[in-house]
């Protein structure tokens, strides 16, 4: 049931693993599922109860299509599928984050940053997700030459307890 979140979180994590200077077009190659990411979210939300962040089947299939399109390099199509998903779960921070990752892969760092900020505005109580967003923001800012902004993002990451 949690696989799509996991894959999506995986998308974002690729970014973390591949470091700050990876050209966006190459990041698709490692979009393997990363076990644990979904469970983190589940744990954060007190996994024993019905998970308020669980994605409905309709959204899961849209996210899978988005992931396939993104991996094929068709960012526009991936974003279009994620927009359909957002129409169903408009306040789901993971979908916003996925949209940010798609824009990052496309090389659109300004949108990647804004979308990750939007995701964070909805990610209260989800530190693992916030961390991924700040990592993406830091990288996007650095790649678009905003060093001061990148340092601010790094401060946020430290606040979240990330070891640098």
């Amino acid at each position: 049931m949690q696989r799509p979140i996991l894959k999506l979180a995986g998308l974002a994590l690729v970014l973390v693993l591949s470091g700050c200077v990876t050209p966006p077009q190459r990041t698709g190659e490692g979009a393997a599922p990363v076990p644990g990411a979904a469970r983190e979210i589940e744990r954060e939300r007190g996994g024993e109860q019905a998970d308020p962040w669980a994605l409905p089947g309709a959204v899961r299939s849209l996210v899978q299509r988005a992931e396939a399109a993104s991996n094929a390099g068709d960012h526009a199509a991936a974003a279009a599928q994620l927009e359909r998903a957002l129409a169903i779960v408009p306040r789901h921070p993971v979908i916003w984050q996925n949209l940010a990752v798609v824009r990052y892969r496309e090389g659109n760092y300004q949108q990647a940053e804004s979308l990750a900020l939007r995701s964070n505005s909805l990610a209260k109580g989800l530190p693992a997700l916030q961390q991924r967003n700040w990592t993406l923001i830091e990288t996007a800012r650095r790649l678009s030459g905003d060093e001061a902004g990148a340092r601010k993002a790094a401060v946020e990451l430290e606040r979240l307890g990330v070891q640098r």
């Binding site: 409905p56 089947g57 309709a58 899961r60 299939s61 849209l62 526009a76 199509a77 974003a79 279009a80 599928q81 927009e83 359909r84 957002l86 129409a87 169903i88 408009p90 306040r91 949209l99 300004q110 949108q111 804004s114 979308l115 900020l117 939007r118 505005s121 909805l122 209260k124």
Partner: protein
């Protein structure tokens, strides 16, 4: 000799002349033939027709658990031209059994792929989709084909919906051949036996029931030639028919004919081809038509104006029945089928639905957005498919809300506009541009620039709340008379709505109750320049001249521009350009442009969160509190606006998911007698009462917490203190002073401690 010579010379010379003349004639005939051949080929092979762009509403996505009422689903199906039929056997039809819908969808090509046709079963329970099945298997998600909401026509307004031969119902093809050209597949462009047969048939019937021209001739006539009835034209027609047949296959010719044939007139728009005729007369795609409808279309070929089913239903019916009879005679249908079909009414829809758009105000916005990237020739000739954000249910609800309230006010001169936007992605869901939503004239939602009054105030308060070191929701403002003098020495003395002054008031209350004097004081304190900067970041075009009266909205904007401003607030400070178009696609399915969701963080989320608290307070206990009359206890945020002498009545309000800006006023700028609350707010209320929106539930940002503040002084207070109110505050910038009572332990709290002690 000389004679002989001259004779011998004369003889060949005469022959030579003849030969030369013959050669010349042959050359001329050949040249002319080649010319005709060239004309036949060029037009037939090239882009045959200028095709208007087709504009679609957003498709209805169906999924388990979706909020959807049966009434809404029926409205969506009607908008997409679905027919309610028992059994729902054909594509584009549905059956409703209580809360269960059987829907036979049409396949559709979207910019992101093909959605195949489905046989759906949709169960609705408690205003939600409780079960969704396609082909009897549970499915997660399906899309209906979207409603066609209009077309963008070329200047000469020749219109058609292209169909491929394999999309033409076999019955229609058979019917057209049976009445127009039975020998079509056997002749070479001209048919003597056809002419003879038509002659005999007409003689027998005592009137003209069949035409003598072959389908090829008819196509040539429509395609290449003028309407004059001369022998020369007839000869050209025959020659070009033979050439067309020699050059192209029967099926190609037939397909062109099906798309070219003239079938009616809609004002200055001529209806060509069966694809469009089907929409024009029946409001449905060709593939959906039934026998009696197919027969009528086939019959219309003979004389679309003489047999116009709307103007001369009896003639049309007679013609249809003749076609049905012919079909039975040639044994394409049985006599029983023919008789049954003859019993059916014509089934023609009233004019208008298929013609120009039912939503002209929204179409204006679509055209305005597309103008940035497309030339108008391309929009009207390339057959582009334009996928918009229009939500038929929201649009219709907005139209009804405005109509209901205008009827209530009863003032014929009163006009109105409504713009509705999806909060989450900035998609424009509906636009109403005036009291007659079908009238494609002055579009007040996009074109009426009117002073916005208090609708501008959130910009002033946001500018203040962006400085948390200086301002919080509990900060005391002075609501006192003020007189300003501009460079020219003119004085400006703003007043409150009821001419009172309120003295010291907390900031949130000044906003919620829309006090003018304290707002001006605050705006001047923050600085006009900063207020204008905030307006820009909210998405507004800044005013050309900056006067203090700007703080009270003496600055004109359109309802659409106000929707942009409030959208940035509703999202928590993320600005997205409002969109009406999602994608543009060629008829072949190639996506030319996408207009994706873009966001820009324009404000820190803390400041916007505090502002939204003030706007929610306005709706709960301030100038917009009458909104409860419409939406009950639903949490909403909103702001009223009234300009001088009630010339403009404004309301901008939003829930978690939907934002709408409403305006009422008169085109002559006269007094309407309506305030924002008594006028525009009621339109908004009527709309939101129909929409079942999600209640406002803002997530406080990390840096915001709730504290108790003394209302009178703005000092930090505590729950047990008198006159304390819980207000969200930026935690790092709480009020610096403490109220004296904060250190005293309240009696209630001590009792609470004592109780806890006993229980433990």
């Amino acid at each position: 000799m000389a004679k002989k010579n001259s004779k011998t010379r004369r003889k060949p010379s005469w022959k030579r002349y003849l030969l030369a003349a013959l050669l010349l004639v042959t050359a001329a005939v050949l040249t002319y033939g080649a010319y005709l051949d060239w004309r036949v080929r060029v037009k037939f092979e090239g882009g045959r027709w200028a095709l208007p762009a087709r504009v679609f509403a957003r498709p209805l996505e169906l999924y388990q658990g979706q909020q959807l009422s049966a009434e809404q689903l029926e409205a969506e199906l009607a908008a997409a031209d679905y027919r309610r039929v028992t059994g729902a056997a054909s594509a584009g039809s549905y059956e409703r059994r209580g809360s269960r819908f059987l829907i036979n969808t049409r396949g559709f090509q979207f910019p992101d792929g093909i959605e195949p046709a489905h046989r759906l079963t949709v169960d609705i329970a408690g205003g939600r989709v409780s079960a969704l099945r396609a082909e009897n298997r549970a499915v997660d998600l399906v899309r209906l084909d979207p409603a066609l909401i209009g077309s963008i026509y070329p200047a000469h307004r020749e219109d058609r919906v292209l169909v491929r031969l394999d999309e033409v119902p076999a019955l229609l093809g058979a019917a057209v051949l049976a009445v127009e050209d039975r020998e079509f597949y056997h002749h070479h462009g001209l048919s003597w036996s056809g002419i003879a047969r038509a002659f005999v048939a007409n003689l027998q019937a005592g009137r003209v029931v069949q035409g003598g021209s072959t389908i090829t001739q008819q196509l040539v006539k429509n395609f290449y030639l003028s309407n004059e009835r001369t022998l020369w034209r007839k000869a050209n027609e025959a020659a070009m028919s033979l050439l067309l047949e020699a050059r192209f296959g029967k099926d190609e010719i037939l397909e062109a004919y099906f798309n070219e044939v003239y079938l009616g007139q809609d004002g200055n728009r001529s209806i060509h081809g069966f694809g469009l005729a089907s929409r024009f007369y029946f409001g449905r795609p060709l593939q959906d038509l039934r026998l009696h409808e197919v027969a009528l279309l086939a019959g219309l070929v003979k004389g679309p104006s003489y047999y116009d089913p709307r103007r001369y239903p009896d003639r049309a019916r007679g013609r249809r029945d003749v076609v049905l009879q012919v079909l039975a005679e040639v044994e394409i249908i049985t006599p029983e089928q023919a008789r049954a079909a003859m019993q059916r009414p014509l089934g023609v829809i009233p004019r208008g639905k298929s013609g120009d758009t039912p939503y002209p105000a929204f179409m204006d916005l679509v055209k305005k957005h597309l103008q940035r990237d497309y030339r108008s020739e391309d929009l009207s000739s390339e057959g582009l498919r334009i996928f918009t954000t229009l939500d038929p249910w929201v649009q219709q609800s907005a139209e009804r809300a405005l109509a209901t309230r205008l009827e209530h006010f009863g003032n014929k001169d009163l006009q109105g506009a409504v713009v509705t936007v999806s909060v989450d992605d900035g998609a424009v869901l509906g636009v109403v541009g005036g009291r007659d939503p079908r009238f494609p004239g002055f579009n007040r939602a996009l074109e009426a620039r009117r002073p916005v009054g208090s609708l501008i105030k959130p910009a002033v308060y946001l500018a203040a709340l962006e400085e948390p070191t200086r301002f919080g929701l509990g900060t005391i403002l002075q609501d006192e008379p003020i007189t300003l003098r501009d460079a020219g020495g003119r004085e400006w003395s703003p007043r409150n709505y009821n001419n009172e002054t309120y003295g010291p008031v907390p900031l949130w209350q000044a906003l919620a109750r829309s006090y003018n004097l304290s707002t001006v004081q605050l705006g001047l304190d923050v600085g006009l320049r900063r207020v204008v900067d905030v307006m820009k970041r909210l998405g507004l075009e800044p005013p050309g001249h900056i006067y203090p009266s700007l703080l009270l909205g003496a600055v004109p904007y359109t309802p659409l521009e106000m929707a942009q401003m409030y959208h940035t607030i509703a999202t928590g400070g993320f600005r997205s350009p409002l969109r009406s178009v999602r994608a543009v696609m060629t008829p072949q399915g190639e996506v030319l442009s996408r207009y994706p969701l873009t966001v820009n963080r324009a404000f820190e989320s803390e400041a916007v969160y505090l502002l939204r608290y003030g706007l929610a307070a306005a709706a709960r206990e301030g100038t917009a509190r009458s909104v409860a009359h419409w939406v009950g206890s639903l949490d909403v945020a909103g702001k009223t606006g009234t300009t001088d002498d009630t010339r403009d009545s404004w309301f901008a309000g939003f829930t978690d998911d939907i934002l709408a800006v409403t305006w009422l006023g008169r085109d002559d700028n006269g007094r309407s007698g309506l305030t924002g609350a008594s006028g525009a707010l009621t339109v908004w209320g009527e709309l939101f009462a129909r929409l079942e929106p999600r209640p406002l539930q803002p997530l406080p940002p990390e840096g915001v917490g709730t504290v108790w503040v003394e209302e009178q002084t703005g000092r930090l207070s505590a729950e047990h203190c008198r006159g304390a109110r819980a207000l969200p505050y930026v935690v790092a910038h709480l009020p610096k002073e403490n109220a004296p009572c904060i250190d005293e332990r309240g009696l209630i709290e001590r009792t609470g401690d004592w109780l806890r002690g006993i229980l433990n």
